[in-house]
Each structure stands twice: as structure tokens, then as C-alpha cells.
């Protein structure tokens, strides 16, 4: 009984540890549209720079339209890890299929 309790406690601890945010890795908060996200440093800047480079438009960080918000999320690895909000999210590449095709993180082919 005691062993089982200790075992159960160990399992619980491990499970809890898996759900805790990865605080060891430095991160910055998400943009105003997603303040709860944890981003690798420079993620938002990289997206904004690519947006300007490819589409020739500047973004006002506090006023991203909904399509741009979606484009940002799709440009990161957020959905590749089941939209885990505890992870530190990285920029993958500017999500615009005519420019960077074969990059849809939501589609499945199995």
C-alpha cells in the first residue's frame, strides 16, 4: 500500500512536471493578439520582417487583423506540437503558400 502510494506519487510528480512550462528556456511573451504565448526571442520580429519583405506592408503590432493573427500562428511551430501553450514557440517560416508551399501544419495525410 505504501509502495503503491509512493509509486502513485512519483507518477503524479512526473505528470505534473511534463505539464509545467519550460521555464529553463528564455522566452518572451506573445504579441498583443496572443499575450499568453511563450515565444523564442525574436519570433515576432522575424514574422513582421518577413511580412514586410514579402508583402511590402508594415504591421502595427497592437492591431493585427484576424488573418494576420492566423498567419502568425501558422508561421510558427505552434500547431506542430498540438498547440501546446506551455511550450516555447519558434518561428518556422513565413506562412504564405504561394511563397513557401508545402508548409500547412494542420493538414494530415495519413
Amino acid at each position: 500500500m505504501q509502495t503503491f502510494a509512493l509509486g502513485a506519487g512519483a507518477i503524479t510528480t512526473l505528470a505534473f512536471r511534463d505539464r509545467r512550462p519550460d521555464t529553463a528556456e528564455p522566452y518572451e511573451p506573445g504579441p498583443p493578439a496572443f499575450p499568453y504565448l511563450r515565444l523564442r526571442t525574436g519570433t515576432v520580429e522575424a514574422f513582421e520582417a518577413d511580412y514586410h519583405h514579402h508583402l511590402g506592408q508594415e504591421l502595427a503590432r497592437d492591431r493585427w487583423p484576424e488573418p494576420v493573427q492566423a498567419q502568425f500562428l501558422l508561421s510558427t511551430d505552434f500547431f506542430r506540437f498540438d498547440a501546446d501553450q506551455a511550450r516555447v514557440i519558434s518561428y518556422v517560416g513565413f506562412y504564405e503558400p504561394t511563397i513557401t508551399p508545402s508548409n500547412n501544419p494542420l493538414a494530415r495525410f495519413d
Binding site: E66, P101, N104, L106, D110
Partner: protein, 492 residues
């Protein structure tokens, strides 16, 4: 802008051809595909294409430029209603979304079954084997274990993966919901075309996955029997009595004439009737009845269900509003389930959303038409006053129809967009097929009723615009027309 073009081809040699085709889109290319299987080794075919032959990458990079250039080839007097031809080698294959459902059997007999529109002079059974042939040429991916229409053979490729909303629709409507048949392949092909990667920008596929005339049928135009002349603008037919002797066209600024025993027009439903009218061939109401389907988009916010897990841009087709007694009074509709990611911004609910498109049939109206102006020998005039009341009633009923359809999903809320989608990029019904020469231009073999060596190909021959996307039917009709042409020769 750099163009990697094929140089303007030299003008064809003199003499009479066995076949002269105008255009290189779906209609002409599939006709040529079957024609060459029958034709003798020494047959001579001339193909005149107004546009240029460009690479797929060029089309990706220059989509908008070509679109605007194509719009400038006609005068649209009803600018609220756009039309989207593509003047280029491959025609509409350069901008289509590769949706390839068949028409339903009842679509061919709208008048006799529901008392509206008109019957086609062909039946679904007449076309069934040709549908299968076209599906194999295009390598269509589709469901072979259930279908809204009878099939004699399976699809060449397995269907695409459903999204979760699709699965729920299928569970709720098992006999009215299916994977969309599509020429966006679910597997990589031996020809080198990669599998569709659900990029969702299908109008010009960035990885050249969807079927186009360029990526799968360009070889036809290199057949030793075929001479392809691009940059050739056909002006009018050379008609003498009840025979067409050839066509007048310009090439590199020079007026020319080409002669042929048989002429086939595959120049889209604006230019096909324009050529007829400019040539004094107005029989059967050529030019009247211009139309296409009309669509409404519905944005659905889901409750606890994620979307966008499908494997292509449009994953499901719903027939819940298509066939049935309602077609006596109002248009039927085909429902598409879209898998292109359009996310929500609420935390944790990003994927709880799905877009539906309802494509309504429309009945051709005689005042919607293509005409020509003697003062402008180059640009046809397009006029479109209004859609049919039949289509309007169909769309008006969507609000009351939707709860029944959406009962399949956990819906938080939905919104029917107030404005219809501007165009389906289809152009149809201006040279209809029929049995009566008084109100139709061609017979069931797409041969002109009066000028028996002239064929009109493409969706201009459709007597009605069913909800189903027209391309597969265009190609099936072309394959059949080529077979019938040779059959009629054998019987004299």
C-alpha cells in the same frame, strides 16, 4: 518581369488540315486526346491558340497580370458580374481548383423531371464511360465505396483525408456526403506530379500538383500530326453555305487563313459564340443564355471541434440540398467543405471553425448574352442583367435549410455572407446543345446543326448550369464528340 516563354511559333504551312482546333483548354485538349487515338498516321491537325505557352512557375508568379490581360479581350457591360477567362495555352486549367464531380443523372433531364430549364440531348448513361475516361486521364482522387451517382469503375486514386467536420457530416448524412472527387492527387504520380499538400492556393498550384493541360497533356501538341500555333487570334470562320472551310486569324500582325475539313471551337463560352456571330452563324440563338452557378459562403464557428485536418483544400461534398422536389420551385445546391485554414483568435479555439460554400445552379436567361459589334472586330460584348428567379429562390431558402444541414456539427454560431461570391470562374450556356435547331446550336455530338463539319466544344454547349463544377463534364463531352465524329465517318 521575366517570361520563360516558348517563342511565338511560326505560322502553319499552307494546305488543308484534317482538323483545325481553336483553343487549347480542357475542351480542345480532351477532344484532341481522343481524336489522335482514332486519326491516321498521316493526319494533319492545326491548333490555333491566342495566348502563349508558359511554364507553371510563370503562371504562379504572373497570375494577376494574365487575369487582367484576359479581361481586356472582351467588353463587359455589366461590370457588377465579372467573368474570368484565361487566354493562354491550357486555358482554364491555369486557374481552376481541380474540382471534378460528375453531374447527377437528373441534371440531364431538369425539364422532364421538374418542369424547369431544359433537358440535355444526352443522358448520364451516355456520358458515364467518358466520365471514367476523363477521371483516369486526370488521375482523379475520389471515393469508390460510395457515390451520389452510378459508376462503372473505381476512381484511379484513393480519396483525400476528411477533416473532422467532414467525418461528422458523413456520419449524419451517410448517403449524401462524400469526399470531393478532385484532380488534386492524393498520391504522387508516375508523371512526376507530387501529391497535393493542402496549400490552399489551387488557382495556381505552387508545386504543380493539380492537373493542368500543361503538366499532363502538353505532349499531345507535340504529336507529329499536330501543329500548334500560339499567338494566333482567330477572327472569324470562313463559311460557305452549310460548310466551314477554315478560319481567318492574325498571327504576328499578319492576317492569315487556315483551311480544314473539320473545325472545332474550344475558345470558351464568350469567344465561341462571338466567332459564330462574327461569321454570320447566329442559328439557334448563339450567344444567348450566358451564365454560371452562383455561390454563398457560410462561416461556421464550432463548439469543441477542431477543423482543417483534411489533406486538400476542399475535402467534402454535400448533396443534402442538391437533388429533390424542391428543384421544381428553386435551385438545388452543392455544398463544399473547405479545409483551407481560417483560424479564430480566441484562446484555445483557433481551429474551431469551418467554411462552407453552397453552389447554386442557375437557369440561362435569354437577355444574358454575348454579342459582337461590327465596329470592334476584336472584342465581344458581354451583358448580364440578372440571375434567374429560380436561383434567387434557392439562395433565399438557405437560411431555412441550414439548421437541418448543420445539425451534423456542434455549432456555436454561423453567418451566411450577405454578398454572393462574385464568380465561379465558369462561363457557360451560350451555344447550347439540343435536339431542336430552332433553340440550340449543336446536336448531342457537339456538331453544329446546320454546318455539319463544325463542332462547338466546352461549357458553351451546356443547356443548363447544374450545381456540379463543369470541367469533368466538359472533358467527357469532348471525348465522346471525338468518338462520334469518327463513328459518323465510318457509317458514311
Amino acid at each position: 518581369m521575366s517570361f520563360d516563354t516558348q517563342h511565338d511559333s511560326p505560322p502553319p504551312v499552307q494546305g488543308t488540315y484534317d482538323l483545325l482546333l481553336v483553343g487549347t483548354g480542357f475542351a480542345s485538349a480532351f477532344f484532341l486526346h481522343r481524336y489522335l487515338k482514332h486519326a491516321a498516321r498521316g493526319a494533319r491537325v492545326l491548333v490555333l491558340e491566342r495566348g502563349e505557352q508558359r511554364s507553371q512557375q510563370w503562371h504562379v508568379q504572373n497570375y494577376e497580370a494574365l487575369r487582367l490581360e484576359s479581361l481586356a479581350t472582351f467588353v463587359n457591360r455589366s461590370e457588377w458580374k465579372p467573368w474570368e477567362p484565361r487566354i493562354a495555352f491550357g486555358g482554364g486549367s491555369n486557374c481552376w481548383w481541380a474540382c471534378t464531380p460528375r453531374m447527377l443523372p437528373e441534371d440531364f433531364r431538369l425539364r422532364s423531371k421538374y418542369g424547369v430549364g431544359r433537358d440535355w440531348p444526352v443522358t448520364y448513361d451516355d456520358l458515364e464511360s467518358y466520365y471514367g475516361d476523363a477521371e483516369h486521364i486526370m488521375a482523379v482522387s475520389g471515393p469508390s465505396d460510395g457515390s451520389p451517382y452510378p459508376r462503372s469503375r473505381p476512381y484511379p486514386l484513393p480519396p483525400h483525408r476528411f477533416s473532422d467536420p467532414d467525418r461528422f457530416f458523413k456520419r449524419w448524412f451517410p448517403d449524401q456526403f462524400f469526399q470531393q472527387p478532385t484532380a488534386r492527387p492524393s498520391r504522387a504520380l508516375p508523371s512526376g506530379r507530387p501529391r497535393c499538400e493542402a496549400n490552399g492556393v489551387c488557382r495556381t498550384c505552387p508545386i504543380d500538383s493539380k492537373f493542368t493541360i500543361h503538366n499532363e497533356l502538353a505532349h499531345l501538341f507535340k504529336d507529329p500530326r499536330v501543329t500548334l500555333c500560339t499567338g494566333a487570334n482567330v477572327k472569324r470562320l470562313d463559311v460557305a453555305g452549310n460548310t466551314v472551310r477554315g478560319v481567318h486569324y492574325t498571327h504576328a500582325g499578319v492576317d492569315r487563313i487556315a483551311r480544314a475539313d473539320v473545325v472545332g471551337l474550344g475558345a470558351n463560352a464568350i469567344f465561341n459564340p462571338a466567332l459564330l456571330l462574327r461569321s454570320g452563324v447566329a442559328d439557334g440563338g448563339a450567344g444567348r443564355g450566358l451564365g454560371e452557378q452562383v455561390s454563398l459562403h457560410v462561416d461556421v464557428m464550432l463548439k469543441g471541434m477542431n477543423s482543417f485536418q483534411g489533406s486538400t483544400s476542399i475535402t467534402g461534398l454535400g448533396y443534402m440540398l442538391y437533388a429533390g422536389e424542391h428543384r421544381r420551385e428553386r435551385a438545388g445546391a452543392l455544398m463544399e467543405v473547405w479545409n483551407v485554414p481560417v483560424l479564430r483568435s480566441e484562446r484555445g479555439r483557433w481551429r474551431e471553425r469551418v467554411g462552407l460554400k453552397f453552389i447554386y445552379e442557375d437557369l440561362p436567361q435569354p437577355d444574358n448574352r454575348v454579342t459582337v459589334d461590327a465596329a470592334d472586330g476584336d472584342r465581344p460584348i458581354v451583358e448580364f442583367g440578372a440571375r434567374s428567379e429560380y436561383a434567387e429562390r434557392g439562395m433565399a431558402a438557405l437560411e431555412s435549410d441550414l439548421p437541418r444541414v448543420l445539425a451534423a456539427l456542434p455549432v456555436e454560431r454561423y453567418e451566411i455572407e450577405k454578398r454572393t461570391i462574385e464568380t465561379e470562374s465558369h462561363i457557360m450556356c451560350t451555344s447550347p446543345m439540343g435536339r431542336n435547331p430552332a433553340d440550340s446550336v449543336v446536336d448531342d455530338g457537339l456538331v453544329h446543326h446546320r454546318i455539319r463539319n463544325l463542332l462547338v466544344l466546352g461549357s458553351s454547349v451546356f443547356p443548363t448550369a447544374a450545381p456540379a463544377n463543369p470541367t469533368l463534364t466538359i472533358t467527357a463531352l469532348s471525348l465522346r464528340a471525338a468518338d462520334k465524329l469518327f463513328a459518323s465517318r465510318r457509317t458514311g
